[in-house]
Symmetry: C2
Subunit: 156 residues, 2 copies
Amino acid sequence: MKQKPFQDIWPEPATYCFGCGRNNKKGLQIKSYWEGDDAICTWEPEEHHMAAPGVLCGGIIATVIDCHGLNAAMAAVMKAEGLEIGDEPPYVVTTGSLSVKYLKPTPTNKTLVLRAKVKEISEKKIVVTCSLFSRRKECARGEIVAVKVPMIFWQK
Amino acid sequence: MKQKPFQDIWPEPATYCFGCGRNNKKGLQIKSYWEGDDAICTWEPEEHHMAAPGVLCGGIIATVIDCHGLNAAMAAVMKAEGLEIGDEPPYVVTTGSLSVKYLKPTPTNKTLVLRAKVKEISEKKIVVTCSLFSRRKECARGEIVAVKVPMIFWQK
């Protein structure tokens, strides 16, 4: 059975996110899935996501690491609570901090793979590491600390 | 006399950068200037840069902090070498690492101000801190470590 993307967990307002919202027509529209205990995303940049011709912009790299990492944190929370994607989430998570190391230039003309690992889930936060690969070469490596946010934040 | 933006320092390929390239029609097109020893950028998000309606996407925040910080590093290098914006740069800089703390939600419907400070210029790297303000409230705080890249990288 085909998995639902993690992006389906979120309340409706988050479906407009520039990085991962399916309803943001000008956004990156990344999709995240489980592959064993890792969270995987494959994504193809568009030409205008460049830093310079042929090389992906560092801010776009930070965006996909942040959005994929945050979705991995959200999916891990659901799994820890015994919930499926599609069930009502008990709360949502937001990025408290993000760090990225740029290891080598990332080409824009190849499919990219993001692989995230959930390092820690505690009462208040979830720590996720996430690497970006182009043809199996690790081009960037990031970490996000996600913090829990009451659902009331979304119900405005 | 009106200052030239730091973005005018760069070789032509960088004018297509998603974050700060004047020739990227779908990009953010930020512009950075000196205000005393600080580097300042004012920027207005577009609606599709949201994380959710009314709130700016964390990846876009990372992008403007990275691009403004990197431009501040480049301008600081020029100043340290006694060069003006418009002179041939001795080399360019690229982001080695980026970190961002998200302090509070950033509204999308107000002009944002980025203020960067050059903390360190050494033989190999430049360290820049950069805060993002909305109506004088600090919404995010970042740091980038920029590294020097030979001009040959751009001459392909």
